[in-house]
């Protein structure tokens, strides 16, 4: 492998050719701020937050997109760089609603974090602001384009991860906007509601509708688990607040799916909270189900199964286990059928 020697903040480092300045700095423990960059997506160098000073270059360089070169002398936090970044943030904030106290993204907003770090409170520029209506026409994704900073992460996620190409930039200049074809709403588009766009959005422009008003990001406990829908084996984080499931978010460390999820995995979890869930055992009496205790239900089951087994033999019993249940539950169902009921009549829906 061809190696390249360069200097970052006065310290020499050697990295493989083709490495970006951003990645080289990261290896040295130097954190360069980014907004439009995301590991899983192509680099476009759109937001300019990651600019660095390269000696001899005629302008500041976007470190997420620029590859290292032999002998490069890079400064990641020089006064010119800091001023440029602050100016970028100032320009972004000039047209960004500062309703952070009620924003769903508060506590997990990349823009807010950088403004905090670079001391940008209020923009010095007083100009027009967008007044787009907030799109609430689908049950999954809230689109507040007033908060969009045009980083294009969602556009790239839609194209590069899902391959659906639902959204792209439309219009020019101040009117630039991310939207589906013809500036329609998502419900009118070919959107498959995978929510990859939501998972990459660095601001409150795209948020999960199901999680709206359910809790602040720092109040949420995330529990990594495996999706209960198809057999792909995607992992994601269950978001829990006060013992209640309030949403699903991507966990980019997932070995198979990374950040990607589908409509079912990301937005189908709410069956768990459905008010029609069965909560207590039921016994049928005179053709109607009546609530009963676990004790009474289990006594009736044991009595009936014992009687039927004694009268008709073990093979008069059969059990259906479930491809939706865990391995451990399935193991116990077949063990119960074989060891307790004495029959191999156990199957599940693999064949149906």
């Amino acid at each position: 492998m061809e190696m390249v020697k360069l200097t970052i903040n006065g310290i020499e480092i050697e990295v493989p050719a083709g490495t970006t300045i951003l990645k080289a700095a990261e290896q040295m423990g130097i954190k360069i701020p980014t907004l439009c960059f995301l590991e899983e997506l192509s680099s476009v160098g759109a937001c300019r937050m990651c600019v660095v000073e390269v000696k001899g270059a005629r302008a500041l360089v976007a470190s997420c997109a620029a590859a290292v070169a032999p002998g490069m002398d890079v400064q990641t936090h020089s006064p010119a760089v800091m001023e440029a970044r602050k100016m970028m943030l100032d320009l972004l904030v000039a047209n960004h609603p500062l309703d952070c106290m009620t924003c769903e993204k508060m506590g997990d907003c990349n823009l807010a974090e950088l403004c905090y770090e670079y001391g940008v409170k209020e923009s010095i520029f007083k100009g027009d602001k967008h007044h787009y209506p907030i799109e609430m026409s689908n049950p999954f994704i809230v689109r507040d384009m007033n908060k969009c900073i045009l980083c294009g992460r969602c556009v790239r996620a839609c194209a590069e991860i899902t391959g659906q190409d639902t959204i792209d930039f439309i219009y020019r200049g101040f009117n630039s906007k991310v939207a589906p074809f013809y500036d329609e709403e998502l419900v009118e588009s070919n959107c498959v509601y995978c929510g990859q766009c939501v998972s990459v959005c660095p601001t409150g422009a795209l948020t999960e509708r199901q999680m709206a008003g359910q809790g602040r990001r720092w109040e949420i406990t995330k529990v990594k688990t495996t999706c209960p829908f198809c057999g792909t084996g995607c992992n994601f984080d269950l978001n829990v607040k006060d013992g209640k499931l309030i949403g699903v978010t991507s966990n980019s460390s997932a070995p198979v799916n990374g950040r990607a999820l589908c409509i079912k995995g990301r937005f189908g979890w709410d069956f768990v909270n459905n008010e029609n869930r069965l909560t207590t055992p039921l016994i049928k009496k005179d053709g109607k189900f009546v609530e009963t205790s676990w004790e009474e239900a289990l006594d009736l089951i044991a009595k009936s199964l014992k009687e039927i087994k004694e009268k008709n033999g073990p093979d008069s019993f059969a059990a259906l286990s479930s491809a939706r249940c865990t391995n451990e539950e399935n193991y116990l169902v077949q063990k119960f059928t074989r060891a307790v009921m004495g029959t191999n009549n156990v199957d599940h829906c693999a064949r149906t």
């Binding site: 209640k244 116990l332 060891a339």
Partner: protein, 523 residues
């Protein structure tokens, strides 16, 4: 799957999809296929429907339903005739080549083209492309297995992969993508009538003795009943009691009237479920179930990856399903002693050689793909690298088996069924967001047929088979070919499986959900 999902984007140079609508049924795998295609891999889609990936494909072969064997034989005919097969792989890794050769000899491109509806040019092009590409992955799902010849369809896929040496290396393989989160695991755990966990046969005396010793009981030595046989036995009075955990056969199994009658005849039925399902209505006792978010445990994915399921909230019914089964067992006089699901896993793993090396601790980060025989074994991403399970790969000469029920004058349409992106068999109707946008069946009808039937997009249609009649809204689209009606099975108001075929694969007892004869009229 013989291979791993991530090989789609890292290794495969070609993907051939037969009977899998991947972007809808397995979206993340479908998205990876689309990424791979856009990054230069070739894509061949074999499907009667114009599925999303057909739009991306280099070749979309609109195959006539139920002609997979002639299609695959036709490819192998060309590959052998042109000497494009992997002679080294065939000689060193396989046996019985002569049987395959003499069978596929009869499947000339001309004959196959007439049966399958695929042009001879496309047969030649696809045969050559698949055979001459170094790393080609073959994928299938229920479009292959849900036929009376499902087993033979699968064997034909294996024949093709063996013939071309597309096995045992990254970016190759025969890759069935499994439909449910833990259908792989339920099989692995021995929730099957013929095997204990790790596919150890119940008729093997040594295996049985091992389990008898571990469980402290004597165990039955004859193979049990498969699902369709259970319902036959319920109908004829041999099975009198059932325990059904987390399944809704009334909605999901073929020929549901037969299922309903069987459940009705049972003396005693226990159903453990999240919701009061169509099946639970027949129960004598219903036990509330805990959902995936309410339990610790593991699921095993289609690529044999065992991964952790973690409890995030307290179980709605007050206890985990494992605790319920333990309590039931104790009442029956056989106490099971587990403090948590991990102890259940450990017992299972200690009895199952292919899973012995897997512990919860090792699953923490990325899970492990079985086989994994010991604690220092890294797991297996790609099966059959050095040899097959039986030693040499056995070619089978397989002839065309037509569907049990084909369209005729009285029932002129072919009914094909499957899943849609937004729904999953039985839980998604309880998701409010999903249900608010996809609340009813939209049966796909070809525009030519719609015109003849006088049906417009959104009209209600009545679909009738020899088993019954249902109504659904029509979606007029060229996704389906003329003569085909396509329906999902997600909606209780349009219970498609009330009219699906009675045909079963005689070996697996899998229903022929993909082909039934129906008539269609405006409702």
């Amino acid at each position: 799957m013989t291979n791993s999902i991530n090989e789609i984007t890292t290794d495969a140079q070609l993907m051939m999809l037969i009977g899998t609508n991947t972007t809808e049924a397995h979206p993340i795998i479908g998205y990876k296929m689309r990424q791979a295609k856009r990054n230069g891999a070739k894509l061949i889609v074999v499907d009667p429907r114009r599925i999303d990936l057909a739009e991306e494909a280099d070749y979309w072969l609109r195959i006539n339903s139920g002609t997979d064997i002639p299609f695959l034989n036709g490819l192998m005919h060309i590959i052998i005739k042109e000497g494009l097969y992997d002679k080294n792989f065939v000689e060193t890794r396989c046996e019985n080549f002569e049987a395959l050769e003499s069978t596929v000899k009869n499947y000339t491109p001309d004959y196959v083209s007439k049966l399958t509806g695929i042009s001879e040019d496309d047969l030649y092009a696809v045969a050559r492309l698949y055979a001459t590409t170094d790393r080609a992955m073959l994928f299938y799902t229920l479009g292959i297995t849900e036929h009376i010849c499902g087993t033979q369809n699968v064997m034909s896929c294996a024949n093709l992969a063996m013939l071309t040496g597309h096995l045992g290396r990254p970016g190759t393989g025969v890759n069935p993508i499994r439909g449910q989160n833990n259908v792989q695991g339920a099989c692995d755990m021995g929730a099957l009538p013929n095997v204990y966990s790790g596919y150890q046969p119940v008729i093997n005396t040594d295996v049985r003795k091992k389990f008898e010793q571990a469980w402290g009981v004597s165990l039955p030595d004859k193979v049990g009943l498969m699902i369709p046989q259970m319902f036959d036995a319920a109908n004829n009075g041999q099975v009198k009691a059932m325990y059904i955990l987390g399944e809704n056969p009334v909605l999901t199994d073929p020929n549901s009237n037969h299922i309903r009658k069987g459940l009705d005849k049972l003396e005693f039925l226990v159903v453990q479920e999240l919701f009061l399902t169509e099946t639970a209505e027949y129960a004598d006792v219903i036990l509330p179930a805990a959902s995936f978010a309410e339990t610790n445990g593991t699921f095993t994915s289609t690529e044999r990856r065992v991964q952790r399921v973690r409890k995030a909230i307290e179980p709605v019914p007050g206890q985990g399903n494992w605790q319920t089964i333990m309590a039931m067992s104790a009442k029956m006089g056989y106490p099971m002693e587990y403090n948590d699901p991990e102890e259940i896993w450990d017992e299972m793993a200690s009895l199952s050689p292919s899973l012995t090396g897997i512990t919860y601790e090792r699953l923490e980060e990325k899970g492990i793909q079985w086989p994994c025989q010991s604690c220092d074994h890294p797991g297996t991403a790609c099966l059959h690298a050095a040899s097959f399970t039986r030693g040499k790969g056995l070619f089978q000469g397989i002839d065309h088996i037509p569907p049990q029920e084909v369209p005729d004058e009285e029932y002129p349409f072919l009914l094909n069924t499957g899943r849609i992106l937004q729904h999953y068999n039985v839980t998604t109707p309880y998701s409010k967001g999903i249900q608010s946008m996809w609340s009813e069946e939209h049966s796909e009808v070809n525009p030519d047929d719609a015109c003849k039937l006088g049906v417009e997009n959104g009209d209600m249609i009545k679909v009738t088979s020899r088993r019954g009649s249902i109504t659904a809204r029509a979606k007029v689209t060229d996704r389906v070919p003329p003569g085909m009606i396509w329906m999902s099975f997600h909606y209780a108001a349009s219970p498609t499986n009330a009219i699906t075929s009675e045909g079963l694969d005689p070996i697996t007892k899998t229903g022929e959900y993909k082909v039934a004869a129906v008539k269609v009229e405006k409702a």
